[in-house]
C-alpha cells in the first residue's frame, strides 16, 4: 500500500443469510484491514442501494472493529467512494439482501473462499464483473483466469478475529459442513461410533436441490459463535463438503489456531497442517473411528493439538492477505474498471439460460400428479375404513391392559410415549433401547391402535420380563390414528417431559438424558430434538432433524422428525397433535407449525442420539404421494408461518450405496 495515498474506504458486504465461510473470511479480512488502519464498515444486508448516502450506497458502519485511519479527516477519506469486498458465492438476491449494481461491481473486490461455481450462475456473473478478484484456492484462480478474470491468490492464515476463548473443551467431536446425500449418509454412519461422545453435527440444508434456503438462517455458527465452538471442541472432522473441499482450508486454519485437532478426509487442503504431523487423515467413512481413537489417546491428542497450534502460529497471518486486498482496493479506488470484460456478455447469456431453466423447473412442480392423488385417496380411504370399524360402546377409548409392578410407585420426569400399530417385529428393539437408557426417572406409555397382528402380545411379553421398568400398555378397539394416540398418552403422562418414540425407531442410551438436560438449560424452548440417523436394515441412509430450529425453514417443508422431547404443558397447551386425516403422516409438521405460529420454539441438540427406520410404506410416504391438499391446509391454518409459501418437492434420495 503506497504510503503517500490514503487507504480506501472498504465496505465488506455479506448477505444476511449468506454462506458461513464467506462471512468468516470477510470478517477476518475486515478485522485485519482495520488493524492496518483502513476505514472499514460492514453491510450485513447485502449491497446498499446505489442512491443512498453519497451516491455510493454506504449509509452506515456496523462493524464493531471499525477504526478511523490516522490521516482520515471527515468525509473525504479515501476519496469518498468506497470499495466493496464481497464473496460472489453469497446469494444476495435469494437471501433477501440487495444484489450489487454494475457500477458497484466495478468498484468491488470479489473474495472467493471457494470456486465460484454451483447451481447459481450469478456467482460467475459477479466474479467476472468485479473490479478485481482474490481466491483462496488455486483451482478457483485457474477457473477464474480461464474466464478472463485476473484472479490472485489470497493466502489464508491465522487471525485474532477467529480466536475463541477456551473455557473447557466440553465437545468431543464437531463435524462442520456436511453437504449432500452421500456425506449425510457418512455422517449418519458416525452414530454407532460416537453416540457416547459429546458432538456437534449438522446435516445438509437441502440435499435435494443444493439450492440455498432463501429465508432460512445460516446453519453453521459464525463469528464469535464459531470461535467459541472451535475453542471448546477437542476434535473437528473436515472433508465432508460437497464436490469442493476448498473452504476446508479456512476451517483447518481456524481449528489449528484454536488448538482443536483436525481429522480430515484424504486430499482435503488444510493449509499449514501436515497429515501425521499436525493432524490425522482417513477415508471419509472412517473419520469417526479415527476421531474416537484419538479421543481415547489423550497424549496423542495433546501432541497433535500443540503441533497444529505451532504450525498455524508460525504461518503467515491473514494480515498478509489484508495487505494485498488493500493494494487492490487502492488501485481500484484510483482507477475503477470502466466497462465490463467481454466475458460478461457470455455470463449474461448464462444468466438468461438460468432464468429459462428456473421457469421450466417451476412449471414442472405446479400440477399435482393425478395417479399419485388417486393412490393417496385410496390409501386414506382404507385408513378411514379401519377407523370406522366399530366394536363396543366406546371403541375409541384406550384401555390399560397391562401395568408393570414398578409403574404405580414411580416418579418419572420423562414419559416415553410409544404409539403402536403393528410393527410386532421391531417394537422389542424400540422398547429395549428405552430400557437401556442412562436415565432412570422415566416411564413408558404404549397405546396400541387396534393392531391386527401380535404387536400387543410382543410388547406385553417384553414388559413382563422387565418388572422394574415403569410402564403401562393400553389398547384401543378401534383405530384412531397416530395423533390421537400421542395426545392421549400426553394426557396421562406423569412426567413433565414427553419423548415421542415410534415403534420402529430407537434411541441411544444417552438420548433421553441429553435432551432433558438441554431443555433444563433452556427453559424458553418448548421442545428439543436431536440429529437422527436414518437407516435401512442397519445401513445408514440419511440424516434427519439435522438443522437448527428456524420457523422460516418450515416453509421449505418439515425438517424435524416427530422423535423429539416436548414439554407436556406446551403440547397440551396447543391441544396436542392433530387428528385430521388430511394431515395423515404430517401430524408432527402440523405441531411444529402450530408452535411456530404461537411463537414457541424448538431446540436442536446437534448430536446423533436417535435412530430412524426408513421404510417404503411409512405414513409420510402416503402423504407425500400428493402433498398439495395437506400443504394448502397448513398454509390456511398457520398463515404467519406458511402463508404464501410454494409447495415444496419431495424427491427420492439416490440409490443405496455401501459404506
Amino acid at each position: 500500500m503506497p504510503a503517500a495515498t490514503r487507504p480506501p474506504r472498504l465496505v465488506f458486504v455479506h448477505a444476511p443469510r449468506g454462506i458461513s465461510d464467506a462471512g468468516e473470511l470477510l470478517r477476518g479480512l475486515a478485522f485485519e484491514a482495520a488493524e492496518l488502519g483502513a476505514e472499514v464498515s460492514v453491510a450485513e444486508d447485502g449491497f446498499p442501494a446505489p442512491t443512498a448516502g453519497n451516491g455510493t450506497g454506504v449509509v452506515e458502519s456496523a462493524a464493531p472493529w471499525r477504526r478511523k485511519s490516522p490521516n482520515e479527516s471527515g468525509d473525504a477519506a479515501g476519496g469518498g467512494h468506497p470499495i466493496f469486498v464481497f464473496s460472489p458465492r453469497d446469494s444476495f438476491s435469494a437471501g433477501g439482501g440487495r444484489a450489487p449494481s454494475a457500477s458497484q461491481l466495478r468498484r468491488s473486490v470479489a473474495v472467493c473462499e471457494a470456486e465460484p461455481v454451483g447451481p447459481l450462475d450469478v456467482a460467475y456473473l459477479h466474479a467476472r464483473r468485479a473490479g478485481a478478484a482474490l481466491a483462496v484456492d488455486h483451482g478457483g484462480i485457474a477457473l477464474l483466469r480461464r474466464h478472463g478474470v485476473p484472479a490472485e491468490h489470497l493466502p489464508v492464515g491465522p487471525s485474532a478475529a477467529w480466536q475463541g476463548e477456551e473455557v473447557n473443551r466440553r465437545i468431543d467431536v464437531a463435524c462442520l459442513a456436511a453437504r449432500g446425500f452421500r456425506n449425510d449418509r457418512i455422517v449418519a454412519s458416525f452414530g454407532p461410533v460416537l453416540w457416547r461422545r459429546r458432538c456437534f453435527m449438522l446435516g445438509s440444508p437441502d440435499p435435494t436441490t443444493a439450492l440455498p434456503a432463501p429465508t432460512a438462517a445460516p446453519r453453521l455458527p459464525q463469528g464469535t459463535e464459531r470461535a467459541r465452538l472451535l475453542a471448546t471442541t477437542r476434535v473437528v472432522v473436515l472433508g465432508l463438503g460437497q464436490d469442493s473441499h476448498h473452504a476446508e482450508e479456512l476451517r483447518a486454519v481456524q481449528a489449528g489456531q484454536n488448538g482443536t485437532v483436525v481429522v480430515a478426509a484424504h486430499g482435503v487442503p488444510t493449509g499449514p497442517l501436515r497429515p501425521g504431523e499436525h493432524m490425522a487423515v482417513a477415508e471419509p467413512r472412517n473419520l469417526a473411528l479415527v476421531a474416537d481413537a484419538l479421543l481415547r489417546d489423550e497424549q496423542r491428542l495433546t501432541e497433535l493439538a500443540g503441533a497444529a497450534s505451532e504450525a498455524v502460529g508460525s504461518a503467515p497471518g491473514l494480515v498478509e492477505a489484508a495487505k494485498r486486498l488493500l493494494d487492490l482496493a487502492s488501485g481500484l479506488s484510483a482507477a475503477p474498471r470502466s466497462r465490463p470484460r467481454p466475458s460478461a456478455l457470455i455470463a449474461s447469456g448464462q444468466a438468461s439460460l438460468s432464468a429459462v431453466r428456473d421457469g421450466i423447473r417451476e412449471r414442472l412442480r405446479a400440477p399435482p400428479n393425478p395417479r399419485r392423488v388417486a393412490q393417496k385417496r385410496s390409501a386414506l380411504e382404507k385408513i378411514a375404513d379401519r377407523r370406522s370399524a366399530v366394536n363396543g360402546s366406546d371403541p375409541g377409548a384406550a384401555v390399560a391392559v397391562y401395568e408393570t409392578p414398578s409403574y404405580a410407585d414411580a416418579a418419572p420426569r420423562i414419559s416415553v410415549c410409544v404409539p403402536l400399530y403393528e410393527h410386532a417385529d421391531v417394537i422389542g428393539r424400540a422398547l429395549q433401547s428405552v430400557a437401556g437408557s442412562d436415565r432412570g426417572d422415566l416411564e413408558v406409555l404404549i397405546v396400541d391402535d387396534a393392531s391386527e397382528g401380535p404387536a400387543v402380545e410382543v410388547a406385553r411379553e417384553f414388559l413382563e420380563a422387565r418388572p422394574w421398568l415403569p410402564a403401562r400398555l393400553h389398547r384401543r378397539e378401534r383405530n384412531e390414528g397416530l395423533g390421537r394416540g400421542r395426545t392421549d398418552m400426553a394426557r396421562v403422562a406423569r412426567g413433565d417431559l414427553l419423548f415421542m418414540l415410534d415403534a420402529d425407531n430407537e434411541v441411544y442410551p444417552t438420548a433421553l438424558g441429553r435432551l432433558a438436560d438441554a431443555l433444563d438449560d433452556d427453559p424458553g424452548a418448548a421442545f428439543a430434538y436431536s440429529v437422527i440417523e436414518a437407516h435401512t436394515d442397519g445401513r445408514p441412509r440419511a440424516l434427519l432433524s439435522s438443522l437448527p430450529w428456524d420457523p422460516m425453514r418450515l416453509r421449505l417443508g418439515n425438517y424435524i422428525d416427530a422423535m423429539s422431547m416436548i414439554r407436556r404443558d406446551a403440547l397440551l397447551g396447543v391441544g396436542g397433535y392433530t387428528g385430521d386425516i388430511r394431515l395423515h403422516g404430517w401430524e408432527d409438521f402440523d405441531l411444529w407449525c402450530h408452535f411456530a405460529e404461537l411463537g414457541l420454539r424448538g431446540l436442536l441438540v446437534p448430536e446423533i442420539l436417535c435412530r430412524y427406520t426408513l421404510s417404503e410404506g411409512s405414513m409420510i410416504s402416503i402423504t407425500n404421494l400428493d402433498s398439495s391438499e395437506a400443504w394448502a391446509l397448513l398454509a390456511e391454518l398457520y398463515p404467519a408461518v406458511l402463508g404464501g409459501a410454494p409447495m415444496p418437492i419431495y424427491p427420492s434420495p439416490p440409490p443405496d450405496e455401501e459404506l
Binding site: P192, D441, H474
Partner: protein
C-alpha cells in the same frame, strides 16, 4: 383412557425411585444395551480392518503384477534394441576382425623390415 394418577416427583433427578433390586436390574439392562452397542462397534472395526487388509493385499498383488509387467516390457525393449542394432554389432565385429588381421600383417611386415635391416648390417 384411564384416569390420571397422582404425579409424585423424584427429588433425585436422573435416578429411578424404588428398591435397590429394581435399580440393579435397570443398571444391568443399561449395561447389556451398552455392551450390545460396543459389540456392534467392534464388529464395525473388524469389518473395516478386514477391508483395509484386503485392500492392502490387493495393493500388494497389484504392485507385483505391475513389476512383472515392467520386467516383461523391459525384456521386450531389450529385444527390440538388440534386433535393431544387430547389423551394427556385426559390422563392429567385422571391423575388429579386419583390424586384427591388418595388425598381424603389419606386425609381420614390421618384423621383416627390422630383420632385414639388421642382417644387412
Amino acid at each position: 383412557m384411564a384416569a390420571d394418577r397422582p404425579m409424585p416427583r423424584s427429588e433425585r433427578a436422573g435416578e429411578a425411585d424404588g428398591d435397590p433390586v429394581r435399580e440393579a436390574q435397570r443398571l444391568a439392562e443399561v449395561e447389556r444395551v451398552r455392551s450390545e452397542h460396543l459389540e456392534a462397534q467392534i464388529a464395525l472395526l473388524e469389518n473395516r480392518l478386514a477391508a483395509t487388509e484386503r485392500h492392502g493385499a490387493g495393493s500388494g498383488a497389484l504392485l507385483a503384477e505391475r513389476e512383472r509387467e515392467l520386467s516383461r516390457l523391459r525384456a521386450d525393449s531389450e529385444l527390440v534394441v538388440a534386433r535393431a542394432t544387430a547389423p551394427l554389432r556385426a559390422a563392429e565385429r567385422a571391423i575388429r576382425w579386419l583390424a586384427s588381421k591388418l595388425g598381424r600383417v603389419g606386425s609381420l611386415l614390421g618384423r621383416r623390415v627390422v630383420f632385414r635391416s639388421r642382417s644387412r648390417d
